[in-house]
């Protein structure tokens, strides 16, 4: 059910090439052991496999059955392929399987496919458990998954924490490899712009890898992708902490979109079981509403419902056999639309109920106040205190505290200590380390002593770029024609503004001029003229043609949100270029904070 249809002709270059590439790699790996085989796959990789290879494809490589990796399991076949990340836990699990088989006297051909590469720490475990000699080890260089016709993701769920909290740079190498994979498929990328320490490290790594594979610029044939802009998440931590307001963003904030799927409970659908629904451009209804403000989605949904009814009715009105035939041939399409419509209607209903409980509107008001960087933080602190005391959700007060700290360059010691203590008393002292974690990630900061050293670059950007615009009326706010639309006109996402600036200027200088505190080194192509690379605003009324449109990949290192993806799609239309978003993982405030807060 999960294979994506080929995207329309507008999608050049076709991101499905990536899937094809890694798919054939998997095929080769599976062919190395002839005969029927079972695949045992780590749970988190299962949906990724779904995106890459259909059951039919796996069957064509003599796959018998796919199992989820469990500590204890029974698998009947004699050829086994474990597909896992190079993690110690899975190495232990596999070792225990093999040792059990040996005790039972069963002889099996074991293969481990490490995704994307094997690491010595796994070898060490396998060797210590005495099973290394019996295993054929493969590496499946699965990096970017095309989740949609404009989204590529490494789908490493804990990427943000690994990079910014644990200092685990394993991922940087994967990012560099993934860029190289894109270059192999789409030709050399002419200009490479990077912002932030990690992105610059990746740029350096990429240079080394290119050298290692003896890749020179001339070697590339086509140049389907004209530039790549790589940006560290740490450059803009504010945006992912804001409540998302587009349909897609809201869906991720509330239900959670995991690897392109949402889990819809039986209570929501009225079906017998929970279902997984793929939400991307192959869903005709979702395609239309994904980028809209959530509040505007119902209008479109009801219009679509009326249209669908009309289409069904046209069947009733059919007299001639040929008309009926035409109608019947449309039925599967209609049915799909029908199903999709009912899912999204139910889902949005559910979200509305949930948001009512949280008193979403009031919360948004305070969020906006935080973004405006007002000097008086008293009312905001009071609201946060209320959230802590009322214990609606454990994430909300943390999220607001982080936002406040980021926009104002830290929280006054008096408030900070009090909030911290209240939080511990309300949610439990085990959250003590939560605060250290947040501080280490740079999301929270205690402001002691000297005020000047706590200037925030956000404030400066806010002022110069009018990130939080003021409107005369709410009508005007609704009619915005820039990227701030994704936050209902309330906020222009900083990271996306940086991307816009670098596309228009060809370098990061404009941004750096605004705030000297904008952290992290940059990489810009050498030798290119400082002049803008020739982006023209779309002429009003002029037809946009897809031919000759440049394609830009924006790569977020450390995760990006759906809102940002929506905003960049909007930017693409504005600048008449195609923007493909690549990321280590797709995040939301919920997913980002959840594992930090609940890890204790």
């Amino acid at each position: 059910c999960t294979n994506m249809a080929t995207p329309g002709p507008s999608a050049t270059p076709d991101l499905q090439l990536v899937a094809q590439y890694v798919r054939s790699e998997l095929g080769d790996i599976l062919d190395k052991t002839p005969g029927p085989k079972d695949i045992i796959i780590q749970q988190e990789l299962m949906p990724l496999l779904n995106h890459i290879a259909s059951v039919k494809f796996l069957k064509s490589h003599e796959m018998d059955k796919v199992y989820r990796l469990e500590p204890q399991m029974r698998v009947p076949g004699y050829n086994r392929y474990y597909i896992v990340r190079p993690e110690i836990g899975s190495a232990y699990t596999i070792s225990s399987h093999i040792n059990k088989d040996m005790r039972d006297g069963v002889r099996i051909n074991y293969n481990i496919v490490f995704v994307p590469r094997n690491l010595a720490c796994c070898d060490y475990i396998l060797e210590r458990e005495g099973v290394l000699g019996q295993i054929l080890i493969h590496e499946w260089n699965l990096y970017l998954i095309p989740l949609d016709e404009h989204i590529l993701s490494l789908e490493i769920p804990d990427a943000t924490q690994a990079l910014y909290l644990h200092g685990d740079y394993t991922l940087l190498h994967s990012v560099a490899q993934s860029v190289l994979q894109l270059e192999v498929l789409y030709g050399g990328i002419k200009t490479f712009q990077a912002k932030g320490i990690l992105s610059c490290k990746i740029s350096d790594l990429l240079g080394r890898l290119r050298e290692a594979y003896c890749i020179k610029d001339e070697a590339w044939g086509s140049h389907d992708v004209s530039e790549l802009i790589m940006i560290d998440r740490s450059v803009d931590l504010v945006t992912p902490l804001c409540s998302q307001m587009t349909y897609e963003g809201m869906l991720d904030d509330t239900l959670g979109i995991r690897n392109g799927f949402i889990q819809v409970t039986k209570a929501t659908t009225g079906r017998l079981t929970d279902t997984k629904v793929l939400v991307n451009s192959t869903d005709p209804v979702f395609k239309l509403i994904r980028g809209l403000l959530f509040s505007k989605a119902p209008i479109v949904l009801s219009r679509l419902t009326r249209e669908l009814k009309g289409e069904y009715d046209s069947g009733k009105g059919a007299r001639e056999i040929s008309d009926l035939k035409a109608f019947v041939s449309q039925l599967p399409e209609l049915k799909k639309k029908h199903e999709s419509l009912s899912t999204h209607l139910r889902v949005s209903e559910k979200i509305v109920t949930q948001k009512k409980v949280e008193d979403f509107k009031r919360q948004l008001g305070y969020e906006r106040a935080i973004l405006e960087c007002q000097d008086a933080t008293g009312p905001i602190i009071e609201y946060i205190e209320e959230c802590i005391q009322r214990q609606v959700t454990s994430l909300l007060p943390i999220r607001l505290l982080c936002l406040l700290s980021l926009t104002s360059g830290g929280i006054k010691s008096k408030y900070y200590q009090s909030m911290k203590l209240q939080y511990l008393q309300s949610y439990g002292y085990n959250h003590l380390s939560t605060f250290y974690t947040l501080e280490q990630l740079g999301l929270l900061r205690e402001r002691t002593g000297d005020q000047l050293s706590y200037q925030s670059s956000f404030k400066q950007f806010n002022k110069a770029l009018r990130l939080v615009p003021k409107y005369a009326s709410s009508e005007e706010m609704e009619k915005v024609t820039d990227m701030s639309y994704v936050f209902g006109g309330a906020y222009l996402p900083l990271g996306c503004m940086a991307v816009k600036s670098v596309i228009e200027n060809g370098n990061w200088k404009a941004m750096e001029d605004i705030s000297k505190m904008w952290k992290g080194p940059t990489v810009s192509p050498s030798g290119t003229s400082a002049a803008p690379v020739g982006v023209k605003k779309k002429e009003k009324g002029a037809k946009s043609s897809n031919q000759g449109r440049r394609t830009i990949i924006v790569y977020f290192v450390g995760g990006c949100t759906f809102s940002e993806i929506n905003a960049l799609q909007y930017l693409g239309q504005e600048l008449n270029c195609r923007i493909v978003v690549a990321t280590t993982n797709i995040i939301s405030a919920t997913t980002l904070l959840e594992c930090l807060v609940n890890s204790n």
Partner: protein, 852 residues
């Protein structure tokens, strides 16, 4: 008798040898339909009498090895390796047992097969590669004879040798180049006539390798499965006794000869014969050498006469003035004598088309035309060209092909000039293929001419070269140590660097590090310069490893510094015990795989203390190690944290363990440990928090709640269970703020629905968190009626919002009006769209506000 030579044409032709063409055809000798040509590549002045030596030549004009024939079993001796031009390459001092036969593998390694059943392999520089016993049984049975073979057909090349033991058992040995343990040995089926001695034998390669053995007039084919007897239908009346057998390189043709000079040649299934012929020798011969040329002729040497035997009855002969050796090549037979290295081959059609006297092929006419043109007879040249006008392309192509067949540069040049002359007439209509063929042949001939020079001594023909491919050819030059020539050729033939220059320089450098005549610094300098000048990426790591193997550690370290790829550099650094640099380079490379590898190696190698020191300044590596420890060894991780003074980390970890440990005592201990760590970190807040946590745990257990209950939960529980005193106590004990306490009270009372008590509580004193809080909590409990009681007391700016939520739209409108909130009024209008009075009210209010 018709058994004489066809015609003694040599003299006749020599007389007409007036020009180059004639000189090219002078040594052609007709043999039925075809011509053979004997050409001397090199005159040898080496004072060797081949009769006294074991001789081994290798195919594709490879090297040759000589060893004096041994008379006694163990005698000091020498094996000398020469080029075909007689230039000495190397000498091997021999002290081993009796050598039965010498031979070459396809990679030009020398194989010595000994009587005692062992084989010893050397490279062409006399370097010992390996030795092994062929097969245990042979040690006792001893080797009697040994024959090397090579098989060349279409795209397959394959070689090895066969031995016959003294008890007439046969073995086939192949895959010698793969190394000592990869050698494959196959024992063949026993010879049915085991009692009688075989007359002659030869290995035969087809689908599998077998051996042809003759016993008197019987011919057996021994495969590893069985022995097959073949009847040969031969015309000879008297009984024969075969004395020599030869098989063609492609395994398709076989020739047999008996002591009286009677010959039979045909297919290797012995079914059909194209030649049965009797030399009618006056006396029985003792020794015959026989080798196939191509499929339509073979060469025999009997008693100082060389016969070239064509198909049917055709033959010709050449006198030989001394002993000689023969070796079959893909396109002829190489002949080594005491004084020359020669090659005899059939004149190919390509040459005939252009050079045969009187031939009317376009190529020949073009060649003539050019000669006239050169001789200032341009009108004649014109006439010739006009004559072949339609076939000019063919003519050019024929001249190019003919040039490729020639050894003599002058002849090559003349033919290529003719071709070029013809090309001129084709103008722009010339086919690109033809241009390519011309350029390609010119290049190839230049390469071949340079290796054919006697100082190099590789008289390879164009056909042999193409059969080998340029890649393999370059490999051979590398193997011969002819790096300079190889480099030039790579550049000249435009071989891609990865298959050419890089390969050559890599091998050159690998060899150079073994050159003990130069100092480490000189070698390093030389290698670096050469690689830099060539501007190619050659792995310094590999060269450094070779230097290390040659026990030149300084050189290795010097070279390794130039390696740009960490994966080639780091493992070697570890081996050289440059641990710190290894870790540094691994971290620098950013390749997690490499970092893990180094971490693991170092962990095994170093003491814990030293290991921690190593990690100290390298956060990237330390992070990876911590990640591993987190999952495998938490105690170790704590030790590391303490070592690095990361008290907060260790404190958090102890604290976390205090929640997860099963045993109560351990939990207490962990809590204590955590507190100590935070104290060391001078974190007052955390130290106090942990203290409070411990206190709270005791309190909540006393209250009968579960251990994990939080302070808020405990207070709310007290309120709900009507234990105000306990609530008050907790408030005091934990210094709860008024805000905290009030929220807990309100929530507790609402939870149990005691709104009367709530009302009383609200009147106790002015609520520090405002009346809004009362309204809010009531709303979340869906009790709008109770909420409505508190809203009027709330601050003006909050009223609108609260009224809206309890759906009292008229009051909401009122509140919005009072705060001049037009957007608010709009919202009320939307929400209350079904109540016209309110919509109306809102409209009036809006008008009032905007009207002003």
């Amino acid at each position: 008798s018709d058994s004489g030579p066809d015609k003694d044409t040599t003299v006749d032709m020599a007389e007409r040898a007036a020009d180059i063409q004639a000189s090219a055809t002078a040594d052609w000798n007709p043999l039925g339909e075809i011509y053979v040509k004997r050409y001397s590549n090199y005159e040898l002045d080496w004072g060797i009498n081949l009769a006294d030596y074991l001789v081994a030549m290798s195919p594709f004009a490879g090297p040759l090895a000589l060893m004096p024939k041994q008379r006694q079993t163990s005698m000091k001796s020498e094996i000398t390796i020469y080029t075909l031009a007689g230039k000495k390459i190397s000498t091997i001092t021999w002290e081993g047992g009796r050598v039965i036969e010498l031979g070459w593998t396809l990679s030009e390694n020398l194989v010595c097969v000994l009587e005692d059943g062992s084989m010893i392999i050397y490279d062409i520089f006399g370097q010992f590669l390996y030795s092994r016993i062929i097969q245990r049984e042979i040690q006792t049975s001893r080797v009697q004879e040994c024959k090397f073979f090579s098989y060349t057909d279409k795209d397959k090349v394959f070689g090895g040798f066969a031995v016959m033991t003294c008890n007439t058992e046969f073995y086939i040995i192949v895959d010698i180049d793969k190394g000592k343990d990869e050698v494959r040995i196959k024992k063949l089926a026993a010879l049915p006539d085991a009692s009688s001695k075989p007359g002659c034998w030869a290995p035969l390669c087809k689908e599998s390798t077998s051996v042809i053995v003759t016993v008197e007039d019987r011919v057996y084919l021994l495969s590893h499965l069985d022995a097959t007897l073949y009847e040969i239908n031969c015309g000879k009346k008297s009984a024969t006794c075969w004395m020599e057998v030869a098989v063609s390189l492609n395994g398709k043709a076989v020739a047999l000869i008996d002591r009286e000079g009677y010959m039979w040649a045909g297919t290797t299934d012995f079914k059909s014969s194209d030649t049965e012929f009797d030399l009618q020798l006056k006396q029985k011969v003792a020794r015959v050498q026989m080798q196939w040329g191509e499929m339509d002729y073979f060469v025999l040497v009997i008693d100082r006469i060389m016969f070239v035997k064509g198909l049917g009855k055709h033959w010709c002969k050449y006198p030989m003035n001394g002993p000689c050796c023969l070796l079959a090549e893909v396109d002829g037979v190489r002949i080594l004598t005491n004084t020359a290295c020669e090659f005899i081959h059939r004149v190919s059609t390509k040459s005939l088309n252009v050079l045969r006297i009187g031939v009317m092929e376009p190529g020949a006419l073009l060649n003539d035309a050019y000669k006239e043109y050169e001789g200032d007879e341009s009108h004649k040249a014109d006439e010739f060209v006009r004559f072949i006008k339609d076939k000019l392309s063919i003519a050019v192509s024929q001249c190019i092909e003919a040039a490729g067949e020639e050894f003599v540069p002058k002849v090559q040049k003349s033919l290529l000039k003719s071709a070029n002359f013809g090309k001129g007439f084709l103008g722009s209509e010339i086919q690109p293929d033809l241009v390519n063929a011309f350029v390609e042949t010119c290049r190839e001939l230049r390469v071949l001419n340079s290796v054919r020079l006697s100082k190099i001594g590789i008289p390879i023909t164009l056909r042999q070269y193409r059969r080998l491919s340029s890649g393999v050819f370059v490999d051979r030059l590398i193997y011969h140590g002819l790096y300079h020539l190889a480099l030039e050729i790579c550049e000249f033939l435009k071989i891609p660097p990865s298959e050419g220059t890089v390969k050559v320089l890599r091998n050159w450098a690998l060899k150079k590090v073994q050159d003990k005549s130069m100092s480490d610094a000189e070698v390093a300098q030389k290698i670096k310069k050469k690689l830099k000048d060539a501007n190619v990426v050659v792995s310094y790591g590999e060269i450094a490893r070779a230097a290390m193997d040659a026990k030149r550690l300084t050189l290795a370290a010097d070279l390794l510094r130039n390696e740009i790829f960490a994966q080639d550099q780091v493992p070697l650094l570890l081996e050289m015990d440059s641990d710190s640099t290894a870790l540094e380079k691994a971290v620098e490379s950013g390749d997690p795989k490499l970092i893990h590898q180094v971490l693991r190696q170092l962990k095994l190698k170093l003491t814990t203390e030293r290991y921690y020191q190593m990690l100290h300044f390298r956060p990237v590596a330390a992070a990876l190690y911590c990640k591993v420890l987190k999952e495998t060894d938490q105690e170790q991780l704590l030790r590391l944290y303490r070592q690095e003074s990361l008290f907060v980390e260790s404190g958090c970890m102890y604290f976390a363990q205090s929640f997860t440990a099963r045993d109560t005592d351990i939990r207490k201990q962990r809590l204590f440990d955590a507190q100590k760590e935070f104290r060391d970190a001078q974190d007052i807040f955390a130290t106090k928090a942990i203290e409070e946590h411990a206190k709270l745990t005791t309190e909540v257990v006393k209250l009968g709640l579960k251990e994990t209950a939080t302070l808020s939960e405990a207070v709310i529980w007290c309120v709900k269970n009507r234990q105000p005193r306990q609530a008050e106590q907790l408030r005091k004990d934990f210094k709860m703020t008024d805000h905290q306490y009030w929220w807990a009270m309100i929530r507790g009372l609402c939870d149990i629905g005691d709104y009367a008590e709530l009302d009383r509580f609200s009147k106790q004193k002015k609520p520090p968190i405002g009346f809004e809080a009362f309204a809010e909590v009531c709303i979340t409990h869906d009790n709008y009626r109770e909420a409505a009681k508190y809203i009027p007391k709330a601050a003006l700016e909050n009223k609108y919002h609260l009224y809206l939520r309890i759906q009292d739209y008229s009051k909401a409108a009122d509140a919005a009006f009072q705060t001049r909130n037009i957007g608010g009024l709009d919202e009320v209008a939307i929400k209350a769209a079904r109540t016209p009075e309110i919509v109306d009210l809102v409209r009036q209010m809006k008008a009032k506000l905007e009207g002003r």
